[in-house]
């Protein structure tokens, strides 16, 4: 069974979604328990993976990925053009394991948070399950086509979940979300096709040209041989097996000479080297999802309109898909582009940190404020990754996990107050601390966690991103200095909110009844406590996560810097 753990993670929710569709309509309670059951099994599976996972690199080496499943999926013979192969290829390494664990946890919380959804529950829960599968699939896929399929498929449930179960402006928000993300997907699609045209699968090509009879006989020597033949242009184009394999794509030796992504021949598109342009396309495509200023305006709208559980998923995991995709595809396949445009990534990251925070301060709606704080905190992810050293990249990944946990809690916090009063305007509340003392404790804890107080996970992440940004070889030092102001700004918007909403004498405007303000229920505690425990654990014992990701981060940084430099030399030559 150990060999199928990842497939269980992906396909269990798909199966459950179908079951939900078959279940009779009047048994709406079943849907919840089914979804909860799926999440519980996923939790058990992820605990098994966590225990069985041995720190190993992954990144650009197929052999060091774990729980790998690899099945031929699509094989097309295009005669003179060669063959196209796509695989069902999933596996985890240090870059993805944190994301997978995070997704499972966040979906578990989201199911509990959806417990009170009675409106068209059948559709809601089946969409939630499909979303679950596609997000996890995205983090596990090691084949670009598979990744893209999951990546695209997330849009559909998200679109309906916001558009059908959302707030007053749900249609606008959901269409905006859909179109924005679709635009990003198109850019990614273009690069994916270009990459497929330019990369071969050395193992399958070896079979085609008759070096071996079966892919299982392929040894590293054979791969070397194929790569040499390829670079000597000794392989006929009809024997080439074009691949979507993300791991093969990281190796520049698998690039077909004179293809569009080839290093040696610098194809210029709009007077830009094709590879640089491809990196930028991927960057923009994923930057929309992260989101990076100025491509972020879908996020506040989507959050404000989305139901609580969907906001939790959106902030908790969906944004991470963007950053993860950038790492897994953009930077690893185009390390040259990453080195060349690190300043751009760093600058946009820094701009996001400051700009997001400024907008958060100006927000009057609690949920909008939290949404902008997400923009600001995801800016730290971008800045850390752009630093391209272990401190920065590790900090970026740490921040992804940490932000996933903390922002989930923050949106739940906004949900608690919205559930009771259907009013999220900060100015309408004052002195909540004396009316809802337990809720206030939760708010203070998570607000401080989010503003990077030591003892919580956000601190470790942010401090390392900042240290990494300053010691980075590719980023100018002013970026780090500007980014530190984000620490002050986050304190400003969170503490100002506490001061306005929770401190002071208790009085409420806009017809909010004091009697409606019931303190946190046990179901809500059930959501907050695990998140609280996680953020504190990761804040005090960072090794829990670090021991999983360290090896991969080192390999990643090493690979990007060496391969990137080599590739750049060839391009410039």
């Amino acid at each position: 069974m150990q060999n199928y753990l990842l497939s269980i993670l992906i396909f269990l929710p798909v199966f459950a979604a179908f079951v939900t569709l078959i279940l009779p309509k009047n048994k709406s309670i079943w849907y919840r328990y089914l979804a909860l059951g799926v999440s519980t099994i996923q939790l058990l599976v992820i605990v098994m993976i966590f225990i069985l996972f041995k720190p190993s690199a992954g990144v650009n080496n197929t052999d060091t990925f774990q729980f790998v499943e690899k099945v031929q999926w699509i094989s097309l013979d295009l005669s003179s053009f060669g063959k196209i192969s796509a695989e069902y290829f999933v596996g985890v390494d240090g870059l993805s394991i944190g994301m997978v664990i995070l997704s499972v946890i966040v979906f578990f919380i989201a199911v509990i948070s959806s417990w009170k959804v009675n409106d068209r529950a059948k559709g809601y829960f089946s969409l939630l399950l499909i979303l679950n599968a596609s997000v996890i699939g995205c983090f596990l896929a090691l084949d670009f086509l598979l990744f893209y399929l999951f990546f695209e498929f997330m849009l559909l449930p998200m679109y309906f979940l916001i558009g059908l179960w959302g707030g007053p402006r749900r249609e606008y928000a959901s269409i905006k979300f859909f179109l924005y993300t679709l635009l990003g997907s198109v850019l990614i699609l273009i690069v994916m096709i270009a990459l497929n045209l330019s990369t071969i699968n050395p193992a399958q090509t070896a079979v085609e040209i008759g070096l071996v009879t079966h892919t299982e006989q392929v040894t590293p020597e054979v791969v070397d041989q194929v790569q040499q033949l390829l670079q000597q242009k000794a392989i006929d184009s009809e024997n080439m097996v074009h691949t979507f394999n993300l791991v093969y794509m990281t190796d520049a030796k698998n690039l077909i000479p004179e293809s569009i992504m080839d290093l040696g021949l610098t194809k210029l598109i709009f007077s830009y080297p094709a590879r640089m342009l491809a990196f930028l396309l991927l960057f923009v495509g994923f930057a929309i999802k992260i989101p990076i200023v100025p491509l972020h305006t879908w996020l506040p709208d989507a959050h404000v309109e989305a139901p609580t559980a969907i906001s939790v998923i959106l902030a908790g995991v969906l944004l991470k898909v963007g950053a993860y995709g950038l790492i897994r595809t953009g930077i690893l396949i185009f390390p040259d582009g990453a080195l060349n445009y690190a300043w751009l990534m760093g600058m946009l990251g820094t701009v996001s940190i400051i700009y997001g925070a400024l907008n958060a301060i100006a927000s009057k709606d609690l949920k909008r404020l939290i949404a902008y704080s997400s923009v600001s905190h995801m800016g730290f992810v971008m800045l850390g990754i752009a630093a391209l050293n272990t401190e920065g990249v590790g900090g970026g990944i740490y921040q992804m996990v940490s932000h996933g946990i903390i922002s989930s809690a923050l949106f739940l916090i906004a949900g608690v107050i919205y559930d009771r009063t259907h009013n999220r305007m900060i100015e309408n509340y004052s002195g909540l601390a004396s009316v809802m003392p337990k809720y206030s404790v939760v708010v203070v804890i998570f607000f401080f966690a989010s503003l990077g107080l030591p003892g919580f996970s956000g601190f470790i992440a942010e401090i390392f991103v900042l240290i990494g940004a300053l010691s980075s070889m590719v980023l100018p030092k002013w970026m780090m200095i500007v980014a530190t102001f984000g620490l002050v700004l986050s304190a400003v918007y969170f503490l100002w909110t506490i001061q306005r909403m929770f401190f002071g004498k208790s009085h409420f405007k806009a017809g909010i009844e004091k009697s409606a303000l019931v303190d946190i229920t046990s179901r809500e505690w059930l959501m907050f406590v695990p998140l609280m425990v996680l953020t504190v654990l990761l804040g005090i014992f960072p090794n829990i996560l670090l021991k999983l990701i360290n090896e991969s981060v080192i390999t990643f940084v090493d690979f990007v810097n060496t391969a990137g430099l080599e590739n750049l030399k060839q391009i410039i030559k």
């Binding site: 905006k176 305006t297 401190e391 401090i463």
Partner: protein, 691 residues
């Protein structure tokens, strides 16, 4: 390249110190989970834990008297780097440990009485524990990153305690302000940390000490032993940046604005956090990183300290709130300490930190005792028990508090035979030496500011004592004012004994005889500041005479101006709200710093946030929407084109075919069924052909 980081084992001293750290933390956890009905019991228990911690810390001090203890263990591994944390106990740390614990213990005791009946009683004691633990963390940590961790936690507990009465608007604002201003200082701390990391790849203080000993400076480059080289300016930047953290926490110019507002917290909190311990953390940090500071950074520190000492003292002159006088006085005294650090008077500055911690805690608790008594006598809502205009003549009703206040006040002024005299003179002596070593008269500014502040300190302390304790009571009295219980009196008594010089030095006129000064060693820095002190040694006696005569001048001046029979005293009432002239306003408004920041930073800042919002909605989002609308319009055009031309052509073809069909239909006659049959068979054939 895995870094070799030897782990240092535990020894009895570090284990004891760890226990000292754990005890208040335990108190925090136990009180947090305990039931509200047990809160009084819990507060006694908390005091007891603090007593145990104090005793343990004295044991640690005895061990650490002549030896340094260091224990560290791995915290986490970040990629190839190992991060450790641990305890580094040298003499300053051990002394600090005793001071923090002992004052925390007294404050706990005092609070039992002071906070009686408060609705946040339980919460208050829990947070006191959290604060004490975090503060001990700063004191003991052997590592800049870990220091920063506790540094922030101290900020959090200070926020929670200032905002204890959160339903009061002012308290809520003061708490927010304190945290945010501290965070501004933390920007510097983080930048400093990052530069240290960039150059040395370690945060461990002991390693840094030895690495700093091996650095070389050549051609304006700062080269570490590992060969990493940076422009020398970064060393200065690192020092000043780390010091900027201290500026925030120790309420130095230009960030001192948060401390006066922090007086909204309960008075024992002010005594513990905003007088004796947390604000001293900045000074302590400078002591911990002393070897990282080069001469430029130290000069910067000296000037910041001296300017703050003067600014704080001037601002204390005209305040009406009994606690605000003390707050400004704290700012001023912290300025002294940092000025001392800056001129290389490492030992004297630390000495002043310790003496100040005791006499200032004494003053604050005495003020708390007065406030408590007044509050019990008049609980009307509009009665401000902190306003000195509601006081006067209190020496008769609260005699013990009066004595404590005077003793601690004399120590604050720096009167001979009191503790403050010893430490302040030691600092002043070194400022003179330092100024003399510099070839420029400009550097004499520092001793001048230092001596000037002595004069002003004497004036404001005397003013406060005269206004509060002499003459006749001015406030409205409902019940007669009574001295507080034995608990409060006992605490005050202990602190006032500590204000007497003999406790600190066998010869209370001569600071070199102090047991403390003679044991603290000035850390050797790569940048020799020792050379400065060698050239000239001003006579200690002369310094003492100058400062004492300045002090006496101040006292006499204050007596003439503020004596009960004088005009000022008679006019001093709630009605005289406004300061008389510009200079008084300048002092009363704390140099208009708040107003300055409001106009120069905060108002423009709000504009910037609204501007950012406007950009977001009116430019970025507008563009997105326009793009969306544009594509919809474009698709309408395409659709119309489709209908009019493409469809039109098709329709025309269909129409023509139809006409032709009609024309030819008559030839075949209408056999619809056979047509359908033919079509279906045709379809099946096509399907077979395709698959």
């Amino acid at each position: 390249m895995t870094q070799v980081n030897d782990i240092l084992d535990w020894n009895p001293v570090t284990i004891m110190a760890l226990l000292v750290f754990c005890l208040p933390l335990l108190s925090f956890i136990i009180i947090s989970i305990s039931k509200e009905k047990h809160q009084v019991l819990m507060s006694w228990l908390a005091s007891l834990t603090m007593l145990m911690a104090s005793l343990l810390s004295i044991a640690v001090l005895l061990q650490a008297w002549s030896e340094v203890y260091h224990t560290k263990f791995t915290w986490f591994q970040w990629a190839e780097y190992i991060f450790t944390m641990g305890l580094l106990i040298d003499l300053p740390a051990a002394l600090m440990l005793v001071t923090v614990n002992f004052i925390a213990f007294l404050v706990h005791l005092f609070s039992i009485e002071y906070m009686k009946g408060d609705e946040g009683y339980k919460r208050y004691f829990a947070f006191l524990g959290l604060f004490t633990a975090s503060m001990i963390g700063i004191v003991l940590a052997d590592n800049l990153l870990v220091i920063f961790v506790f540094w922030e936690l101290v900020g959090l507990s200070s926020y929670l305690l200032i905002g204890h009465w959160f339903s009061k608007e002012k308290a809520a604002k003061a708490a927010t302000k304190a945290f945010i201003v501290n965070r501004i200082g933390d920007i510097g701390f983080v930048i400093g940390l990052s530069i240290i990391w960039l150059q040395f790849n370690t945060f461990d203080l002991v390693e840094l000490y030895s690495l700093m000993g091996n650095i070389q400076v050549a051609d304006g480059m700062w080269i570490s032993a590992s060969g990493s080289s940076l422009s020398l300016i970064w060393l200065t930047v690192a020092g000043i940046a780390l010091f900027f953290g201290a500026i925030g926490k120790s309420a130095q110019f230009p960030l001192q604005i948060w401390l006066p507002d922090a007086m909204e917290g309960p008075t024992p909190v002010s005594a513990l956090i905003h007088a004796a311990t947390m604000v001293a953390a900045g000074v302590y940090l400078v002591a911990r990183i002393f070897v990282l500071l080069n001469i430029d950074a130290l000069t910067f520190i000296a000037f910041t300290g001296a300017i703050t000492a003067m600014m704080g003292a001037v601002a204390a002159l005209t305040q009406n709130d009994i606690k605000k006088v003390l707050a400004f006085s704290t700012i001023s005294q912290l300025g002294y300490m940092l000025m001392g650090m800056g001129v290389g008077a490492y030992d004297a500055a630390l000495f002043h930190l310790f003496t100040h911690a005791f006499f200032k805690a004494g003053l604050f608790l005495a003020a708390g005792s007065i406030i408590h008594s007044l509050h019990l006598s008049n609980q009307a809502n509009d009665f401000d028990a902190q306003d000195m205009r509601n006081m006067g003549g209190l020496r008769k009703s609260v005699p013990v508090t009066f004595i404590a206040y005077v003793l601690c006040g004399l120590a604050l002024m720096g009167m001979p035979i009191f503790s403050g005299f010893l430490s302040k003179d030691a600092i002043l002596l070194d400022t003179l030496t330092w100024a003399n070593a510099h070839q420029s008269m400009f550097f004499y500014l520092i001793p001048i500011l230092g001596f000037g502040s002595v004069l002003i300190t004497a004036v404001y302390v005397s003013r406060q004592i005269l206004l509060v304790f002499f003459g006749e009571f001015k406030g409205q009295e409902v019940k007669s004012i009574k001295e507080n219980s034995l608990l409060i009196k006992g605490v005050l008594l202990i602190l006032s004994i500590m204000a007497i010089g003999v406790c600190w030095s066998i010869n209370p006129f001569y600071s070199e005889m102090s047991w403390l000064m003679s044991h603290i060693e000035i850390p050797s820095s790569a940048f020799d500041i020792g050379m400065l002190s060698a050239s000239f040694a001003p006579s200690h006696l002369m310094v003492s005479l100058i400062s004492t005569s300045l002090l006496l001048t101040g006292v006499v001046f204050a007596y003439l101006k503020y004596r009960p029979e004088g005009q000022y005293f008679r006019n001093y009432s709630l009605e005289t709200l406004k300061p008389q002239n510009f200079w008084q306003s300048l002092s009363y408004e704390n140099w208009y710093l708040d107003q300055f920041y409001q106009t120069v930073f905060i108002n423009p800042f709000h504009k910037i946030t609204s501007f950012a919002k406007a950009i977001d909605t009116h430019i970025i989002d507008r563009m997105v929407n326009l793009f969306g609308m544009g594509s919809v319009i474009f698709s309408y055009i395409v659709a119309w084109f489709d209908r009019a031309f493409v469809d039109g052509t098709v329709n025309a073809v269909v129409f023509l075919t139809g006409r032709v069909g009609t024309a030819t239909r008559s030839i075949h006659g209408s056999k619809a069924q056979s047509y359908i049959l033919a079509a279906v068979i045709g379809l099946i054939i096509i399907i077979f052909l395709i698959f």
